[in-house]
């Protein structure tokens, strides 16, 4: 079981992640968007969205540091393990809290604002579920594993991190994960599941982060005779049926 979950499953997910993105980009450039719902609701979004997104940027940054940089390196520059730990918590906790609070606001908003809720597809719901689970488990691991030391202290930089790197070295060290606490195991598996879902959800917008804006000229000129590239949408036809709640209820809505 461990062998599959931590030795094979990650590869499957990563393969789907890469191939899926290539496929989606080639066949669905039109659907590649943030699908913003700001037009429907503004007040909660103005608070929740920046909290969540900036929090997530911090969390992702923290993961890159924690997972990719071997402990040996930080040791080598004379950063003691305790100091690293404090540093990680000082940076990680606020980011994590911001992301969770932001997510809570956004989920609340999605559920309670009628138009936003009706614009939420099943695809979105499943994705939010997995994303929410991954984030909450991550927070739990931090609190339980490092802060309060439930069931003994676990140093993920001795376990999860080398395993994660071993995946990319093409010789996954399954035993490292087998020894990890359950919280970390589930977090890792769900995170890979999220990677597999990524190309098929609205999460693709992450890869549109418009960094190029910083150094392109303000006004873009383009010549007309550019042929439509692959992934273009063919002209659509047909009238759309308005989605009305079937039985109009009495009284004001």
């Amino acid at each position: 079981m461990n062998r599959f979950l931590f030795g094979i499953f990650p590869y499957l997910c990563l393969a789907v992640f890469v191939v899926g993105h290539v496929w989606r980009y080639r066949y669905d450039k039109f659907g590649w968007t943030t699908r913003s719902s700001q037009l429907y609701e503004d007040r909660l979004l103005r608070i929740g969205s920046p909290l969540f997104h900036f929090g997530m940027l911090g969390v992702v940054g923290g993961h890159i540091l924690g997972l990719l940089i071997p402990q040996k390196w930080t040791d080598a520059i004379g950063l003691s393990r305790e100091a690293y730990h404090v540093l990680a918590l000082v940076g990680g906790i606020p980011a994590g809290v911001a992301a969770v609070v932001g997510l809570a606001i956004l989920v609340y908003r999605r559920r309670t604002t009628g138009p936003v809720f009706s614009a939420t597809t099943t695809n979105d719901k499943v994705m939010y579920l997995v994303l929410g689970a991954v984030i909450l488990l991550g927070i739990w691991n931090t609190i339980a594993g490092s802060l309060l030391s439930f069931g003994g202290h676990y140093n993920y930089r001795d376990g999860v991190s080398p395993w994660f790197r071993s995946i990319f070295e093409m010789r996954p060290d399954v035993d490292l994960m087998a020894a990890a606490p359950l919280g970390f195991k589930v977090h890792a598996v769900l995170a890979f599941l999220l990677f597999a879902m990524w190309p098929f959800t609205r999460l693709v917008h992450v890869f549109s982060a418009p960094i190029g804006y910083l150094n392109r000229p303000y006004i873009v000129y383009r010549s007309r005779d550019k042929q439509a590239a692959g992934g273009s949408r063919a002209p659509q036809r047909g009238w759309d049926k308005p989605e009305l709640s079937s039985a109009p209820t009495k009284g004001k809505s």
């Binding site: 699908r35 873009v220 047909g238």
Partner: protein, 556 residues
């Protein structure tokens, strides 16, 4: 000098009757889809009034367009690139659906399914946003024809500085219509605000378009455009805007709004301009100089040097010829009667307006004086601070002098033409009083009053004939099937559709039919020859049997 060509429009506001035909035909052609219910690429506002979306002209609030920094450089009013990116997760200045209106339909099903009952069944309004029943409290044109002006009128942003003077009592107020489309600016702040670089200005004809495949839904253009002429499709999550009907323009026929305009008040033609001069012109210090500065960017196609430079810049010969005949150029440069809308936004808009003389004429008429007498008109223009100042707030950043000048030309034309119509000798002095010759005044009259289709629209065809593939987009028959019959796995409109559009006729065929004298004169290969399509019948041709016969049974 870098010569570029720009497709531009002028509207003669005196002739707008506020019928909204332009808005409706545009909507039928382009925005008759879910997610776009509230979108009006063309809208007609009653002024004084709030406009659409409400109070869009209040840039203190919406932060659209450009501002000049103390060091003389332009920057987006909403902040530079870094600030834009930091705000990317939620746009602080995005109008909400309430600033437009909540679109609705009616629950017609109740009418059809109602059982026998005492009371007549009612189709209640249902929101197209939430799908629930709603109360209609606002729409795109709630204050049409000064409806509710006592309540809404004072909130008009353009009353700044003259608030206490504009009266909204029925007898004392004035009113005119302002049809608006995207300005296809020379210095578009929408494009500058787009983080993805999805909004571009076409190098050939200056039409500003959103690349639907590059748009990622960051919404910065919506707040960046000071005219609020970019709309967010709330189903597909992409920005959409007026396309200047480019598939039609490419085959040489005017935009839908122009074609269908009841007042025939729209003019379309090319302007040549110096692209290198745009930024400097948009950055002049005094807002009052912006109108003149923008006029200074335009190049005169009569100048052989300009023509040579245009050729070198790759502008085809027939385009240069079209620029010489352009009605827009005549109104903007030769007669100088057209003014830009809100030059103070510094986007260098390219849909210009001939301000209406009618509010002035109405005042004179009401006082019982001769409203076609030049002296009366001139005196009124000079003394009537309202509406002249109001017009100046719209068209010249508040500078009354150019508005006065234009109104006097229109007034002079009115008196000048009266003499001719009454069979008197034309009075050259009237023309000279406004710096024109009798001949040019007469030509201007012809262009403004009785110009033919071919004179109002001088549109050279596109050279890479790609239009054919594009033209089907809007002209195909939309009644095929609910939902278009395609799946959209990742949200509205995603995925590649595989449908081949079937058009009743294409735009090229339409153009031939539009410009022929009779359908029988069309070339043999034109499918409309000797036939007609009832869906867009324009009165040309009268085939047998189209009207029922007389009593004897013989068809007329």
């Amino acid at each position: 000098m870098r010569v570029m060509a720009q497709m531009a429009m002028v509207m003669n506001l005196d002739k707008c009757i506020g019928c909204h035909t332009c808005s409706v035909t545009c909507k039928q052609a382009w925005t008759n889809r879910t997610g776009m219910e509230y979108v009006w690429f063309n809208n007609v506002e009653t002024r004084p009034g709030l406009g659409y979306p409400r109070r869009y002209e209040d840039q203190e609030e919406w932060q659209g367009g450009w501002v000049r920094k103390p060091n003389g450089r332009l920057t987006l009013r909403a902040g530079g690139r870094v600030k834009k990116l930091l705000n990317i997760f939620s746009n602080p200045k995005m109008p909400s659906i309430d600033d437009y209106y909540e679109p609705w339909t009616y629950d017609y099903e109740t009418l059809l399914n109602a059982p026998r009952q005492q009371q007549f069944p009612v189709a209640r309004p249902m929101s197209l946003i939430s799908g629930k029943p709603m109360n209609v409290t606002w729409s795109a044109n709630w204050d049409d024809d000064l409806g509710g002006a006592t309540q809404y009128g004072p909130k008009d942003v353009m009353l700044k500085g003259i608030e206490d003077k504009v009266k909204f009592e029925f007898e004392q107020t004035f009113m005119f219509y302002l049809p608006r489309i995207c300005e296809h600016c020379l210095n578009p702040s929408c494009a500058a605000s787009c983080p993805s670089g999805a909004i571009y200005k076409r190098a050939e004809d200056g039409i500003v378009l959103v690349d639907q495949e590059k748009c990622r839904g960051w919404r910065m253009c919506i707040s960046g455009c000071p005219y609020k002429k970019i709309y967010f499709n709330h189903k597909t999550g992409k920005a959409e805007k007026c396309t200047f009907c480019y598939p039609r323009i490419e085959v040489g026929i005017p935009t839908v709004c122009s074609e269908t305009c009841v007042g025939r008040l729209r003019y379309i033609g090319l302007m040549l301009y110096d692209a290198d001069a745009v930024l400097d012109a948009a950055s002049v210090e005094n807002e009052h100089d912006l109108y003149a500065a923008q006029r200074g960017v335009f190049l005169d196609p009569e100048d052989p040097q300009v023509r040579r430079a245009a050729e070198q810049a790759g502008i085809p010969g027939d385009w240069i010829e079209a620029a010489r005949r352009s009605p827009v150029k005549r109104l903007i440069l030769d007669y100088q009667v057209a003014l830009p809308l809100h030059p103070e936004y510094r986007t260098m808009p390219m849909v210009w307006y001939i301000p209406p003389l009618s509010p002035v004429v109405d005042v004179i008429k009401d006082t019982g004086h001769d409203a076609e007498d030049q002296a009366n008109l001139f005196a009124a223009i000079d003394t009537l601070r309202i509406p002249v100042e109001y017009l100046a707030n719209l068209f010249t950043a508040g500078d009354v002098a150019p508005v006065n000048g234009v109104l006097k030309k229109l007034a002079a034309m009115r008196s000048f033409m009266r003499d001719i119509n009454l069979g008197r000798d034309p009075n050259e002095e009237i023309a000279e009083a406004v710096g024109m010759t009798a001949e040019s005044m007469y030509e201007m009259f012809r262009l403004l009053a009785i110009a033919k289709y071919a004179d109002r629209y001088v549109i050279p065809t596109a050279h890479v004939e790609q239009a054919h593939a594009l033209e089907e987009l809007a002209t195909d028959c939309p009644v095929s099937e609910y939902g278009g019959g395609q799946s959209a796995a990742f949200g509205e409109g995603s995925g590649t559709g595989g449908l081949t559009p079937v058009a009743v006729e294409n735009l090229r065929v339409l153009k031939e039919a539009q410009t022929a004298d009779s359908l029988d004169d069309l070339p043999v290969e034109n499918p409309l020859r000797g036939r007609l399509n009832l869906l867009n019948w324009d009165g040309k041709g009268m085939p047998d049997g189209i009207f029922p016969g007389d009593k004897t049974g013989t068809p007329k």
